[in-house]
């Protein structure tokens, strides 16, 4: 097994652990942190395959993933702050609709 394959498996494991975090966490902020972990796993997979192939296209896609992560954090945290502010926040299990 080569180093790139080991990095590929590591990225997949990080992605799945982030998925587990999205499933089990109670707090909305930590759910958003878990999605960031999933994006990190995807970046790891892209860069490891890229390093195996000897190209740079995967790194550019990882750069776009970074951009989307920054945008997602801005919008997601804005939504979470307004959810906390609107009425008594009841946790992720009871937040079923976004309209008042």
């Amino acid at each position: 097994m080569s180093l790139e394959k080991a990095c590929l498996l590591l990225g997949i494991l990080v992605f799945l652990l982030g998925l587990l975090g999205v499933m089990v966490r109670k707090n909305l902020i930590t759910i958003l942190v878990s999605t960031e972990i999933m994006l990190n796993g995807v970046n790891l997979v892209l860069v490891s395959v890229d390093s195996h192939l000897g190209r740079v296209d995967g790194q550019i896609f990882a750069l776009f993933v970074l951009t989307v992560a920054a945008a997602e954090v801005a919008v997601g945290l804005g939504l979470i702050v307004s959810l906390f502010r609107l009425r008594g926040y009841e946790g992720s299990s009871e937040t079923v609709h976004l309209r008042d």
């Binding site: 097994m1 180093l3 394959k5 080991a6 990095c7 498996l9 590591l10 997949i12 494991l13 990080v14 652990l17 982030g18 587990l20 975090g21 499933m23 089990v24 966490r25 109670k26 707090n27 902020i29 930590t30 942190v33 878990s34 990190n40 790891l44 860069v47 490891s48 395959v49 890229d50 390093s51 195996h52 192939l53 000897g54 190209r55 740079v56 296209d57 790194q59 550019i60 990882a62 750069l63 776009f64 970074l66 951009t67 989307v68 992560a69 920054a70 945008a71 997602e72 954090v73 801005a74 919008v75 945290l77 804005g78 939504l79 979470i80 702050v81 307004s82 906390f84 926040y89 299990s93």
Partner: protein
């Protein structure tokens, strides 16, 4: 030598990811996430992606983590404290699902062959810059529009209701 560095980095990364997923306090979870971001930057350096390692440090470890901590300070702490930790039943059902998925994917990856290498690159930063500003120029511009739209959306969402 590479394998020693990889083993150290992957152990660090997995410990911090598991900590970020399972630890109780949200602030501790964000600190574990910061640690995992540093480990991922180390793996990028090991794989020869220097530009992406630097961007990972600048964007994730500085901008995003600081943003999370700032947002947590603006929310009343007792509201954050009321729902912390994990759902036990979902953890009990989710852990086997994740385990089975990972073993299936790992079996497939370990058995299969990756594509043949095309070429080797000497200067990572120069090559990334050249490809980004020639082949991927239009997606690059679209990414800036996405950032602008996200900024406007965040301002609209975070505004106080007049």
């Amino acid at each position: 030598m590479e394998w020693v560095i990889f083993g150290f980095l992957s152990a660090w990364l997995l410990v911090s990811v598991v900590g970020a997923v399972l630890v109780k306090n949200p602030v501790h979870s964000i600190l574990f996430f910061l640690s995992s971001v540093l480990a991922v930057a180390g793996v990028f350096l090991l794989l020869g992606a220097e530009l992406l390692a630097g961007l990972q440090l600048i964007i994730y470890a500085v901008a995003i983590v600081v943003f999370y901590v700032l947002v947590i300070t603006t929310i009343p702490w007792e509201k954050v404290k009321r729902f912390e930790g994990v759902y036990k039943r979902e953890l009990l059902f989710g852990l086997p699902v994740v385990f089975v998925l990972f073993s299936l994917i790992a079996f497939t990856v370990a058995r299969g062959d990756l594509a043949e290498p095309i070429g080797a690159i000497e200067d990572n930063v120069r090559e990334v810059g050249r490809t980004l500003f020639t082949s991927y120029l239009f997606p690059f511009e679209v990414a800036s529009v996405i950032l602008l739209v996200a900024m406007i959306g965040a301002i609209l969402l975070g505004r106080k209701e007049g």
